[in-house]
Amino acid sequence: MGMTVSFLILAILTLAGGVAAMTLRRLVHCALALAVSFAGLAALYVNLGAEFAGLAQLLVYVGAIAILIVFAILLTHSSETELQKVFSPAGIAGALLALAVFAVLAWAVVSSGAAHSAASVAAPQTSMREIGFALMQRYVLPLEVIALMLTAAMIGAVILAVRPTSGSEPAETQAPRNPELRA
C-alpha cells in the first residue's frame, strides 16, 4: 500500500528529530531538532487523514512552542554548550530506563489484539464542516473550558515572567527586547 512508504519516511524523520533534540550538545540545535520532530508529527497526522489536527499541530508547535523554547533558551543564557558528558552514569541509567519502558510498550503493542485484528479500513472522510459542528455542539463545553484555561494560563505566564523591578510595564512590550544583552 502507498501509505506505508510515506509513513515510514515521516516516522523516521520524526524519530530522528526527537533523538537529536534529546542528545545534541547545543541547546539551540536541540530546539531546532525538536521543531523538525514536531513538523514530522504534523505530517504524520496529515498522512493518517487528520488534516486539521496536523495543521493545528504545525501552527501551535512549530509556530509557537518551538519559538517559545528558543526564546527561553536565549533568555536563560543556556545557548552555550552544556557542560555535561552524554555518557554520564545518570545518562546511561536514564537511557536504560527509557529502553525498558519502550520494551514493555512494544511488547504490549505486539502481543495485543490491536496489532492483528484491525484491518486497514478506508480513511474516514471528515470535512471541516463536521469538525466545526462537533466543536460547536458535542464538544462545546470542553471548548469553553479550554478557552478559559488558555486565558488563565496566559495571565499566569505573564505574571510569572514579568520582571519584578518593572512590574507596571506590560510583559509583551518588554519580553522580546534584546535578550542576549540582558543581565
Binding site: A35, L55, V62, A64, V70, L74, T173, P179, L181
Partner: protein, 402 residues
Amino acid sequence: MISARSADQVFVALDHWIVGHVPAPFQTLASIVIAVAMIIVVFAALFALTTVFERKGLGRMQNRYGPNRVGPWGTFQPLADAVKSLTKEDVVPHRADHVVHYLAPLVLVGVVFLSYAVLPVGRNMIAVDLDTGVLYFFAVGAATELAVFMAGWSSHNKYSLLGAMRAIAQMISYEIPLILSSVAVIMIAGTLSTVKIVEEQARYTAGIAHWNVITPWGLAGFILFMIAATAETNRSPFDLPEGESEIIAGYFIEYSGFKFALFFLAEYIEMFAVSGLAITLFLGGWSSPVSFLAWIPSWLWFFGKLLAMIFGFIWVRGTMPRLRMDQLMNFAWKFMLPMTLIVILSAGIWRFLSPAVVGPRPLGGVIRWLVCALVIFAPYILLARKLERGHSMEKRTYRFAE
C-alpha cells in the same frame, strides 16, 4: 462567449493537454511537477518585475530617476542583479554555525513557496484545493519565524540576533490580528477552503459582485489585514527587523551573494503570497467586480489585483516613516487586536441581520450596512480617543545625544 471562456481556461486546458501526453502511471506526478514549476516560474518572474517596479516607483516618489542604465529605462536591471548576486563571493563568518547558517535561507524560501499551494490564481487554477486551505496558509507561514531565527542566531553577530528577535516578536504579534481578521471572512463563508471563499464572492446582485470588501466588516477587516500583512512581511513602515540605520540589516546581515538574494526573494514572495490571500479573502479572488466585465479572463483579474496591491505596498513604503519598537508593539496589542475582535463581532451581527430581520432588499440592506458600520466605527472612535489621550499632537522638539 466561447472564446472568452477558452481564454479563461487556456492554462487549465494546456495543463490537461500536457498531462494527457504523459504515460498513465506518471500523470499525477506530472501534474504536480507542472503546478510547482508554474508557481515558481510565474512568481519568480513577478519578483523580478517588482524589483524594477519598486525602484522606479520609489525613485519617482523621491524625485530621482531610479535604475536607468541597464537596458531601455533600466528594465533589464533584475538580470544584472541576478548575475551580480550569483557571481558574488559567498562569505560565511568564521564563528558562524555553518549548518544552520546554510539551511536558514533554504528553509525560508521553501516554506514561503509552500503557501502558494492553496492560492486560487484563476478559475480552476489552484495547486491543491484543500478543505482547510486558509489554515494551511497560516500553519505553513508559521515556520518562517523559525527560519528567521535560524538566520539571526547562526550568524553569531549581535546585530543579526537583535534583528531576528525583533522580527520574531513582530511576526508573532501581528500574526494574531492577521489570523483574526480572516476569521470574520471564514465565519461568513462557512468554509476554510480558498476556492469556496472565492466562489462565494463571485456571485452578482444587480451587476455588482459580493466581494467581502464592500461590507463594513469586510472593509475594516481588509484594512486591518493589510496592516498586519505589512508587518508580517517586514515591509516599511514595519521594517524594524532590517532597520538599516539602527541594526544595519537585521537578521541577514551576515549573508552575501546568492544566499542574500534568497532572503530578498523570500521577502517579496511572502509579500505576494499574503497579498494573494488578501485578494482571495476580501477582494473576490479571480472574480470581476461588475458582471459586465466578467468576460476578462479570471487569471488576468487576479494578477491585476496583485499588481495593484504591490503598488499599494510600494506607495506605503515611499510615504511612511519607520515605527519605533514600543510603538509597534503597542499598536499591535492595544489597537489591532481589539479592533479585529470588534470586526468579528460585526461580522456576526451581519450574519444574523438577514433580509428576514431588517426587511426587504434596498432599505433593509442599507439598514444592515449602517448597523454593522456603527458597530465598528463607534468602538474605533472610543479606542482611538483613549489611546490618543496624553499624546498631544503639537510640535515636539527632540533632543539628540543626551
